[in-house]
Subunit: 237 residues, 2 copies
């Protein structure tokens, strides 16, 4: 895998300020930080790019795309902790120890904003509306983390995969005539990695879902024809 | 099981104001809410007492004890989402749908503070220091939720159980001459329920851990003799 690593100082392709200003009205974080002239950086990540946290004091906010958070132990064992989609955030003060560190991998192209933790706290002190926004955001993140917990708590791999596809369609879905297109190119290997399975099982389940017309493929992306029907037929059995 | 339910209006035994004032200096939430005279309630829960959320707009803060959060589907299927210990919180605006609701069960005696969400937001607007405290608290909660995710992501039930015991010893442990006493009386059945196993397996693993002298029992409570050794020997293999 051709991973690129962002390790504190080193930099990914930074997005030009002009492009950002154009989009800032759609994103409450961006519009606020630009308005207050708060120092922040924005990174464009390609598929499989990885951000590593060994020491840290930054908050990262996903502007676009889909990423997975992993805890990596010094013995190389990795645990997937969450799937992040647009508007999610990650980052806290206690990032690593001599036993482990965290990394975040882009499942497809993504844009991530990073801002110093101390700047965020300073804004909280001075802008009550931002505090309320941030508190609401963090509460929402905890609900989204529960969704991932729910995926993993299914014993059946089929149910895990369907729950994951439904989660992705909710956050990265585009409505089309024939259903919801999940706007991400994710390999079966990566899907397997996320839900704790193997590539062969994922390929078998995907084929079965295509055969029974619950989903179909369009240019390597999944279309769910009827999310409600799919969730009723398979999940929570 | 002789569960007691707290469903919005109905009330558990409320703790007398005098006892609270005595303890409020130890807890930052309590001391702040008392100081500001913010309306809040405190409940004492017995083992297996359950708080149900079908509609809600409150934040719940654990003052003492250990509780498990479950998502309950209308078809009765339950998923354990997290283990909460003292200083954790739970609660958000979107609590239930016609497909599911949440419940929280006390694993042993516990004390929980509840406060209206609107009051919390009002305090955030007016007390910047409280906002910073709350944001830090929510970030810390997300780290603790990751710990539970880590437990469940182990494939081996032995590793899940050891990770859970280590987590409980970290948050409910009392240091003793012979190790760390987990100050909770939890049945093997409940341990099994938390980590997605069965009572027989838990009893077998516990017996093995006692036999190999990693743990011992004291009045139905677990003592971990050397948490670091236990984590090195079993976890993250």
């Amino acid at each position: 895998m051709n991973n690129h690593y962002l390790n504190q100082g080193c930099s990914f392709e930074k997005v030009s300020k002009n492009i950002l200003k154009k989009n800032s009205h759609c994103n409450p974080w961006l519009s606020f930080f630009n308005q207050q002239d708060s120092e922040h950086q924005i990174f464009s990540l390609k598929q499989n790019d990885i951000i590593i946290f060994d020491v840290n004091s930054k908050l990262y906010i996903i502007l676009a795309g889909c990423l997975i958070v992993k805890k990596v132990f010094r013995n190389r064992k990795k645990i997937i902790l969450n799937v992040l989609t647009s508007e999610d955030s990650f980052g806290h003060t206690q990032f690593a120890s001599n036993r482990f560190y965290y990394e975040v991998e882009a499942l497809d192209v993504a844009q991530v904003l990073s801002i110093e933790y101390s700047i965020i706290m300073n804004i909280c002190q001075n802008y009550p509306n931002f505090s309320v926004f941030l508190v609401n955001h963090l509460l929402l993140c905890s609900i989204k983390a529960n969704h991932f917990m729910e995926i993993i708590s299914h014993k059946s791999i089929t149910n895990r995969l369907i729950s994951l596809l439904l989660l992705l369609s909710e956050h990265n879905g585009i409505s089309q005539n024939n259903g919801i297109l999940i706007d991400l190119t994710i390999t079966h290997k990566v899907l397997a990695q996320i839900i704790g399975s193997n590539r062969v099982s994922i390929t078998r389940i995907i084929s079965k879902l295509i055969h029974t017309k619950f989903i179909s493929m369009q240019k390597k992306k999944v279309i769910i024809h009827d999310p409600i029907l799919l969730s009723q037929r398979f999940s929570n059995r």
